[in-house]
Symmetry: C2
Subunit: 388 residues, 2 copies
C-alpha cells in the first residue's frame, strides 16, 4: 500500500511543477506545518521531494505506516545520504522562513554543491490554492465553527470580563473539536485560540501583526485584558477555528445592551463591504483591489479613522488561511496576487470605536469558478447578549 | 524613569558578563521569549545588548513606555544603524536556534564585519539560573498550579474520554490565570496546554520530544486521543502551568476504580525516586547523576521496560523550565550541567504500563543553597476519580 493518499500525491505534483518552473532540483520539508501539507502527518524527520519522481520520507521516530518503499527510518537526518545522492544536487529549496538558522545550516551541509532557494515561498504559493481534500476539511471545520458561534449568547453572564467570556467560548470550541493549538506564519506571531475585544481595549496596539490588537497580558500582549463587559460596549468575538486540521476564521459582534447609532452604522458598513466588495469578487479580481475598494467604502462613509484600528491600523483587510491562520494571499494594497478558484480567504473589514469596542464581521470565503462562497454563513447583525 | 526595572538590569548584567567571558562584543535579542527575559515585554523589534553599557531597545510599533533614552522607535530594524555603530562590531551573537534563517540573514547584514555567535546558547545558559523576580513569579504560578489540581477530581464524570476531562481541566487552568499559550524551545516542538494520558495511549510514540507521547490527533499527534476513561485505567494528568509569565510543571496520577498492584508499586517507585534522588540533591549534584540514579532505581525494581515509556523511551527524567517549558538543564545521561542555586527543575520519573496507562508524579523543584524545595507540594498518592 502507498504511504501517500491520492490528494497528497496531487500536492507533491503541484510542488514538483513549481520546482520545474523555477529550475530547482529538490525541495526539503521539515516544519510540522509543511509535513502536514505534503503527507498529512507531523513527524520528526524530513521529506525530500525531487523535481521528478517519488517523494521520500525520513522518520526519526517510530510511527505506524503501511509498508512503503518511500518511508525510511533514520537516527539522524544526515543518514538521508545513504538513500539519496544529495551531494550531486546543484539546487535545493529549504524552508528558510520556517526553520531556524541552525537547522538550515545543518540541512545545508547535506547539499554542499547546491544553490540555496527558499522553500517557504514555494510552499506558501502551493498552499494558497487548496486541494479537494483540503476544501473538504475546511468546509467541515467551518461548519463546526458556525455551530460553536450559535452557543455564544448562552455563555454570557452578568459581571463577566472579556477574558471570562473568552474562556467559556474556548471550552465550547474544544467540545466542538478544536485542537486548540494555533499555527501562525512568522516566528514573531503568537496567539491563543483567538481574540475577544471590548471597550477601549479594542484599540490597544499589540506587537503582533493581526488585524486588531488588544493589550492582553504581560506574557501575551494581544486580545482580552480583563475588561469588564459593560453596558453600551461592543464585544467582538474573533475566536478562530482549527476544528480538525485546517483553520476557518469568523468574527461576529455582540453588545451589552444598546450601542450608539454610530456603532450600528459602522457594523452595517462592514456588512455592506462584504456584500459589495468580497461577495462580488470573482477569479481574477486583484487582492489589492479588494483592499482598496474596502478602504474606499470606509472613506466614503467617513469611517477611515476607525478602519482596522485607531492608534495602530492594520494595512490589510483579509488573508488566506489553511494549515496556518495567516496564509497567502494577503488582501493589502501592495499585493500582486489575484483571486483563483480554490483559494480560501478570511475577509474582515472592522471598525474600532473609542470607548465602545470593535464592530464588523469576518467570514471565510471559498473562491469558486464563478465567484465566492461564504463558508461561515450565520446571522450578521449585532446580537445583544443581555436580551438572549 | 528608567525603562528597565532592577531585576531586568540584573539579567542584562548577567548576559554582559557572559559576553565578556566569551569575548563577544554584543548580543541581539529578537524572539518574543527572550525579549520577555531581557525587558519583561514582548514587542516587535529588537534589543541590542553591548558587552558594556546600556542595553538599547528598538520598537517597530507603539507601546507605552516611560520616557527613556534607551527606547527608540524605528520603522524597520535596519534603522538601528542610526543609533549604533553596528558596522564596526567584530563579533555579535544572534539567536541562531530561535530565529528563522531568513531573519538571521537580515540581522546579519547589520553587522557586516562581525563574527557570528549563537545567542541562543548564551541566553539559555543565563536563563538556567533564575533571578529573584523570576522565582517570585514561578512560585506564584506553581501555587496556582497546585490550586487547579485540587479541583481535578470534581471534574470527572462517568463516560468521559481523556479529551473530555482534559477540556474541563483546561478551563480550570484558564480560570486560575493560565495564559494558555505554550512556549517550547525547538522549532519542531508543539503542545496544547499539556498532556492527559490513559490506557494504551500512554505508550503511543509521538514525534515530539516530550517525556511521554500519546497519539493525539492528526494535526497534533501528542497526548489525549479520545480514549474512554475505563475501569482499571490510570489517568496521568500533566497539564503544565504558565499561570502568568512563567511555567511550572506538575503531574499527578488518578485512577478509574482500582489499578493492578504493579501499577501502585511503580507509582510508589516514582515517589521513592523523588525522595531518594531529587529531594536529596544539592548544589553541585550532576544532572547526569540524577538521571543515572533514577535509571538505577528503576532497574533495581525491575521496572526498566516501563521507565519513561515503552515502545519509545525518553532519554531524560527532568528538565529546567521558566519562560519555556523545556529549558536547561536537561536531566539526562550526557548532561554536563550540575545543579546551582536558583535553578528550577521539573522532575518526572514515570512508568508506562501496557493497557493501564502511565503512573508516577512530577514536581517542580527550586534548587536552594542547601538542597531543593518542592514548589508543587500536593498529595502524591493515586486518587480514584470514582471515589471522590
Amino acid at each position: 500500500m502507498e504511504f501517500l493518499q491520492p490528494d497528497y500525491r496531487l500536492r507533491i505534483t503541484k510542488l514538483q511543477s513549481l520546482l520545474q518552473r523555477q529550475g530547482i532540483e529538490a525541495l526539503v520539508v521539515t516544519s510540522n506545518v509543511n509535513l502536514l501539507y505534503v503527507c498529512g502527518e507531523v513527524f520528526s524527520g524530513l521529506a525530500f521531494i525531487p523535481q521528478e519522481g517519488e517523494a521520500q520520507f525520513f522518520l526519526r521516530r517510530p510511527q505506524l505506516h503501511p509498508e512503503s518503499t518511500t518511508v525510511h527510518y533514520v537516527r539522524k537526518i544526515e543518514q538521508i545520504t545513504e538513500h539519496i545522492d544529495t551531494a550531486s544536487l546543484r539546487s535545493v529549496a529549504l524552508e528558510l522562513d520556517e526553520q531556524s538558522y541552525s537547522d538550515i545550516q545543518r540541512q545545508r551541509k547535506l547539499f554542499p554543491e547546491a544553490e540555496l532557494h527558499n522553500a517557504t515561498a514555494l510552499l506558501r504559493e502551493a498552499r494558497m490554492v487548496k486541494t479537494p481534500l483540503e476544501l473538504e476539511q475546511i468546509r467541515e471545520g467551518a461548519r463546526r465553527h458556525v455551530e460553536t458561534y450559535k452557543i455564544i449568547p448562552s455563555l454570557y453572564r452578568d459581571g463577566m470580563t472579556d477574558r471570562d467570556l473568552q474562556i467559556e467560548i474556548e471550552r465550547e470550541m474544544r467540545w466542538h473539536g478544536s485542537i486548540g493549538l494555533f499555527r501562525c506564519f512568522g516566528s514573531a506571531m503568537e496567539i491563543f485560540m483567538g481574540s475577544l475585544l471590548t471597550g477601549d481595549n479594542a484599540g490597544a496596539p499589540s506587537p503582533y501583526d493581526f488585524a486588531l490588537g488588544g493589550a492582553g497580558t504581560q506574557a501575551l500582549p494581544l486580545g482580552a485584558n480583563g475588561t469588564p463587559l459593560r453596558q453600551g460596549q461592543a464585544v467582538m468575538v474573533d475566536m478562530a477555528g482549527n476544528y480538525g486540521v485546517y483553520y476557518s476564521d469568523m468574527t461576529r459582534t455582540y453588545s451589552i445592551g444598546r450601542l450608539t447609532d454610530e456603532a450600528y452604522r459602522l457594523h452595517e458598513l462592514s456588512c455592506a463591504i462584504h456584500r459589495e466588495v468580497m461577495q462580488r469578487a470573482i477569479p481574477g479580481t486583484s487582492c489589492a483591489a479588494l483592499y482598496n475598494d474596502s478602504l474606499h467604502m470606509a472613506e466614503e462613509a467617513g469611517a477611515l479613522p476607525y478602519f482596522m484600528g485607531t492608534e495602530l491600523q492594520a494595512q490589510f483587510v483579509g488573508h488566506g488561511l489553511g494549515l496556518q491562520i495567516n496564509e497567502l494571499p494577503v488582501l493589502m494594497g501592495r499585493s500582486k496576487d489575484c483571486l483563483q478558484p480554490g483559494m480560501v480567504i478570511a475577509f474582515e473589514p472592522k471598525f474600532v470605536l473609542p470607548h465602545i469596542g470593535a464592530v464588523g464581521i469576518e467570514n471565510t470565503y471559498l473562491v469558486t469558478e464563478t465567484g465566492v462562497e461564504n463558508l461561515t454563513p450565520a446571522p450578521e447583525a449585532i446580537i445583544d447578549l443581555t436580551q438572549r
